[in-house]
């Protein structure tokens, strides 16, 4: 089968002069790994697709048998129209896009200063800024605070809360990255008379692209899929996709309607999966290079 040839080519190129050939475990590895993936990931995903393709009666007790007739599109359509998916999708976008853009830009601005001006004050500020990676957000009192600010249940309040929660992650990643890039480019721009705003947006920010890609993925992942904080802040006022899933799957409407729940899961996961499929290589190299630095 095909897996052999790249494996052998790779093994020989990796070991270089040390001729080792293809040992038994090396030849077995592609099959073992594929089998493992099929069992651990394939079965749960198949359950989703198969159940989402079934009629209500067939899906009553979800199992791994394929549907006798595929109803996938009908089920997706039913969820789309009756599960208020368009409104929830719009709600999700309304919150996720500004929160992610805001946290990346403001976080990078702060990180640049924190990395370049290594004063004692900044060491303290940096510690404070990244403490949010570890400390859990106060979900209950944030509701009270938003009420006092007149932002209760609003998209603005939700965006603020997400930015507050993930600012630490962004500052942690970006500050570490800024420290690794040389100052010479910035200095050159400064000598040419560029002010800090110009230097930051035209010189520094473009250099940050790899780490910003990583941070974008991480923050998008968390915010797009968040249901806990959304429940406290905008629950009942503004619908997001996970909040909507939570409501309908929890309430009687979808009780034992596994075909609709899983159709919803497919609809909800699709945007992230598509983004990931398109930018997959960049994302993986971004995450991996960012985390070890």
């Amino acid at each position: 089968m095909t897996p052999h040839s790249p494996a052998r080519r790779h093994a020989s190129s990796m070991t270089g002069s040390v001729a080792r050939g293809t040992s038994f475990p090396t030849r077995l590895q592609p099959f073992a790994a594929t089998a493992l993936a099929l069992v651990t990931i394939g079965i749960p995903l198949w359950l989703v697709v198969a159940t989402a393709g079934k009629s209500r009666g067939e899906a009553l007790i979800p199992d791994l048998t394929p549907p006798t007739h595929w109803h996938l599109l009908e089920n997706l359509g039913e969820v789309w129209s009756e599960g208020e998916v368009p409104a929830a999708f719009f709600g999700s976008l309304l919150v996720v896009v500004p929160a992610v853009i805001g946290v990346l830009i403001f976080g990078s601005m702060a990180s640049w200063i924190l990395a370049r001006r290594a004063t004692r004050l900044n060491a303290v500020l940096y510690a404070l800024a990244i403490s949010g990676i570890i400390l859990p957000p106060a979900v209950v009192t944030v509701v009270l605070l938003l009420r006092q600010l007149g932002l209760a249940g609003s998209a603005v309040g939700m965006i603020g809360v997400y930015m507050g929660i993930y600012m630490s992650t962004v500052i942690f990643f970006v500050t570490g990255f800024v420290r690794t890039i040389p100052t010479s480019l910035e200095e050159a721009a400064q000598i040419d008379g560029a002010g800090p705003v110009r230097v930051f947006f035209h010189v520094v920010l473009p250099l940050l692209r790899p780490v910003l890609a990583t941070a974008t993925i991480l923050v998008c992942l968390y915010v797009w899929n968040d249901v806990f904080y959304a429940f406290f802040v905008v629950g009942g006022r503004l619908d997001t996709l996970p909040l909507n899933l939570f409501r309908v799957a929890g309430a009687g409407l979808y009780l034992n309607n596994w075909h609709l729940i899983f159709a919803y899961v497919i609809l909800m996961s699709l945007p992230l999966v598509v983004v990931f499929a398109v930018a997959q290589r960049k994302i993986i190299s971004g995450i991996t290079s960012g985390a070890v630095k």
Binding site: T51, P62, A118, I133, G164, M167, F246, A291
Partner: protein, 317 residues
Amino acid sequence: MLTATDTPVPDRPLAPPPAPRGPAGRTRRRPDRTHPMWFMAPAFAILLVFFFLPTAFNFVYAFTDWSGFKSAIRPVGFDNFADLASSGTLFSALRITVVYAVLVAVFQNLFGLGLALLLERDTWVNRTLRVFFLIPVLMSALAVGYIFQALLKPEGSLDQLLSQIFRQHIDYAWLGDTRWTIVVVALVHAWKWMGLSMLIYLAGLKTIPEEIMEASRIDGASRWHAFRRLRFPLLAPAITFNVATALLGSMNGFDIVQATTGGGPARTTEILNIFIYRTFGQGLFAQATTMSLVLFLLVSLMAFPVIRILRKREEIL
């Protein structure tokens, strides 16, 4: 507190050079001009309002009778803590949260490291499979919870599979066992995030120079020996990162537990956030705040020593 663990190492030794160390004659630019402090203002304003202020409120409202049933809020001292402690909820929720976090950290790292070692070589099969293992990471935790609720039902898909394999009828309620369900839910949590741990471990493995591995191979070291002596120690930063994020992520967990068990059976999987969610829904805001404060204290108390220990290990190795 935090400074000690994370910042100073790269920070202090660099202390002098903020002003560009231009060649001799050049006028020294002042950092205020080139790197103005106001650049940090938006980030810190957001942190202050949406993160630190609510946290500070936690320390106030945990000691009041704030509730959804009346508008007045009066201080009540330690009554909330006393009530929660005397009913046993406080300690059981704490114990369950810690057990859950430790289980998740162990499983997630075992799976992640195992996958990283399995899929380490850069073949196209491995690259494809890595993407496959990342799908759960992309999915919403809530969705993952519902999937496993369906899989793990009594007489559900898993039971049917096992029945076929072992040729006998199995109808075990994976999510209905007061003793073992927490382990099952922790496994589901680890399943969802193992792809991310795998990526971090893969990145860690990549940082190990090929020459070192080659040298050990020429010296005739076995695979296992090379792993134990060479690669495992060099993976220390990746381990620190993975263990810390797994611990924190699971102590802060909600979605997976809510979607699989909702805290049951008999509240044996009711981690702190489930309790907070439940009492908040009942309008018992002060109790919810009290548990939120407990979670805050628990995480602070647990996270800092854990990170310090892991960092120490990194230095020794």
